[in-house]
């Protein structure tokens, strides 16, 4: 692309980003423009290529094709400088099991050329920020999954990065920890940092992301803001019914201006008008239904299909 059309302050600018493992192409030439500030989400089912894309952006996985600049610097040529200004929360926690919480942070600081004495205050701050202050001398095996995750986030902030990449930051965590992490990520966003996160939780994406792309099988399926995507792809009304297909489909199938999507035993009736659907349901008092507004999950189900992915 020409220099003139390049957004001046993109944190990530990828064109034709491609990854092949042997004969298999798992990221198929995607374009990404991640603006400075805010939270950018990479959504997709398991195996869509989210982690691979992040690993290419941070230079941990060489691109098979395409061009990439991060923080205005060329990848992979400027990999050391890009890393110095970036924080990474990997999909699985990989702290040093031989070190305590605080030792892990000190050692990680050293990798950035920071002296532990100079970052002592910063480490205290980060432990406080992620509510780990009382665990500072704990060994890794004494930490719960949520604590390890928070330590990963603290570690990613040790170099005061302007750009933070998080790969599924709250997968497998309990609701309290997820809310704490969301709050902290919003605070980081408010302090001017740029966040790039992957997730397959739609509620997480809706809460945090200003812009997102949905990828599936290594391709971008759609992109936009959460609200924009919902109004673009999904009818405003959703009626959700639990039950066997045999008893639900005859009632809700084929209503003009609506479509019915079945995932397992759950049936989603997407309708532009509520009236005709409610009329049908009145004639079937045995069906229990809930009525809600459309959300990102509906976009996701529509665009990435509903068959099970590994």
């Amino acid at each position: 692309m020409s220099l003139a059309s390049r957004p001046p302050d993109a944190v990530v600018l990828a064109r034709g980003l491609t990854k092949k493992f042997g004969e298999r192409t798992v990221v198929c030439g995607i374009d990404l423009t991640i603006p400075r500030g805010g939270c950018f989400g990479l959504l997709g089912p398991n195996g869509a290529g989210k982690t691979t894309t992040l690993r290419m952006i941070i230079g941990q996985s060489p691109m098979s094709g395409g061009t990439l600049s991060v923080l205005g610097l060329p990848m992979p040529d400027a990999v050391r400088e890009i890393h110095a200004r970036t924080g990474v929360v990997p999909q699985s926690d990989n702290q040093d099991p031989d070190f305590t919480v605080v030792e892990n942070l000190r050692m990680y600081a050293r990798y950035f050329g920071l002296r532990p004495a100079d970052v002592a205050g910063r480490i205290d701050e980060l432990l406080g920020f992620l509510e780990l202050s009382d665990r500072r001398d704990a060994r890794m095996r004494e930490l719960s999954g949520g604590m390890k995750r928070r330590l990963s986030i603290a570690r990613a902030l040790i170099n005061d990065p302007e750009f933070i990449m998080l790969d599924e930051p709250t997968t497998g965590l309990d609701p309290q920890v997820r809310h704490l992490i969301w709050t902290r990520l919003r605070q980081l966003k408010a302090s001017g940092k740029t966040l790039l996160l992957t997730t397959h939780y739609m509620d997480e994406a809706e809460r945090l992301c200003d812009q997102l792309v949905v990828i599936d099988r290594g391709r971008i399926v759609t992109q936009g803001s959460p609200r924009g995507l919902i109004s673009e792809h999904v009818e405003p009304h959703v009626i959700e019914v639990q039950g066997e297909a045999g008893s639900v489909v005859p009632v809700l199938g084929g209503i003009p201006g609506s479509r019915l999507l079945t995932v397992g035993e759950t049936h989603y009736c997407y309708a532009s008008e509520l009236g005709p659907v409610l009329a049908r349901l009145e004639g079937a008092p045995h069906l229990r239904y809930t009525h809600r507004t459309a959300n990102l999950e509906d976009v996701f189900l529509k665009l990435t299909g509903h068959e099970l992915r590994e």
Partner: protein
């Protein structure tokens, strides 16, 4: 991608952070680490040294106890670096994902390989030193020149670290290391002059043994420990340095191939 794996390594001074990380962990796990690399050589020294020493007396003008102690010191330096370079590096590379975490920082794979090699050599020195002390306390060492063997422990570690890192890069599991230990480390231990002079081997076997590095390590360490003049020191140092250099480049190529995917 292939071309990238073949360029010469370009580590930076920050490679020392990897070395420092390992030193900090080593300090924490000092007990088990020492017991492992210390116990076996001392048992050999006591068992074979005292036992066989009674029958053998002197070998080449050196009391057998001293002769054996020098061989065991060289073998210890070899073993410590080999095991650190295989098992510990493999653990950091796979189960612990330590390198994955490090590769998100300004450090590169070249730094990791350089840091690990330096660390393997350092650990050879640190874990072999106590055996030197024990040998001294048991009366095997009577000459100050034995202190000159200490930097050789480091060089021997450096020499064996590269091949060990290559093994770690190729391994699918810990079992893989049995091949290397059984096919190279153990034969070197038995045939390279730890227990008896290489000169007693058939000529053809001597050629093979002299291509492998352990005999050169022993050729340096033994005279220093026994207080005898060194024979061809430059040659032996050159062989060990050559192994270290080739091993380093090979390790960089293979570890890169393993880590950068």
């Amino acid at each position: 991608m292939a071309y990238m794996n073949l360029v010469l390594p370009r580590p930076q001074i920050s490679a020392l952070k990897i070395w420092q990380r390992n030193l900090l962990v080593w300090r924490k796990l000092l007990g088990p680490s020492m017991a492992f690399s210390f116990g076996e050589p001392v048992i050999y020294l006591l068992g074979l040294g005292y036992g066989l020493g009674q029958f053998i007396g002197e070998v080449g003008g050196i009391p057998y106890f001293t002769f054996l102690a020098a061989g065991l010191l060289a073998a210890s330096a070899m073993n410590v670096a080999s095991f650190e370079g295989m098992f510990s590096v493999f653990t950091r590379m796979t189960h612990q994902q330590t390198y994955d975490a490090i590769l998100a920082t300004p450090l590169t794979v070249d730094d990791i390989v350089a840091g690990e090699m330096l660390w393997c050599a350092t650990k050879s020195l640190l874990n072999t030193l106590p055996i030197l002390v024990v040998a001294f306390l048991l009366g095997a060492i009577e000459n100050w020149s034995a202190l000159g063997a200490i930097p050789v422990f480091f060089l021997v570690g450096l020499c064996f670290a590269g091949p060990a890192l290559v093994m770690a890069a190729l391994a699918a599991s810990y079992d893989f290391f049995n091949y290397y230990t059984t096919l190279l480390i153990t034969p070197m231990f038995i045939f390279s002059g730890v227990f008896y002079p290489v000169a007693t081997l058939p000529a053809i076997a001597q050629v093979v043994v002299n291509i492998l590095p352990l005999s050169h390590a022993i050729a340096l360490i033994r005279p220093l420990v026994a207080g005898q003049p060194l024979v061809d020191p430059a040659l032996h140092v050159a062989v060990l340095v050559a192994y270290a250099a080739v091993g380093y480049v090979a390790a960089s190529v293979f570890i890169r191939r393993r880590l950068i995917r």
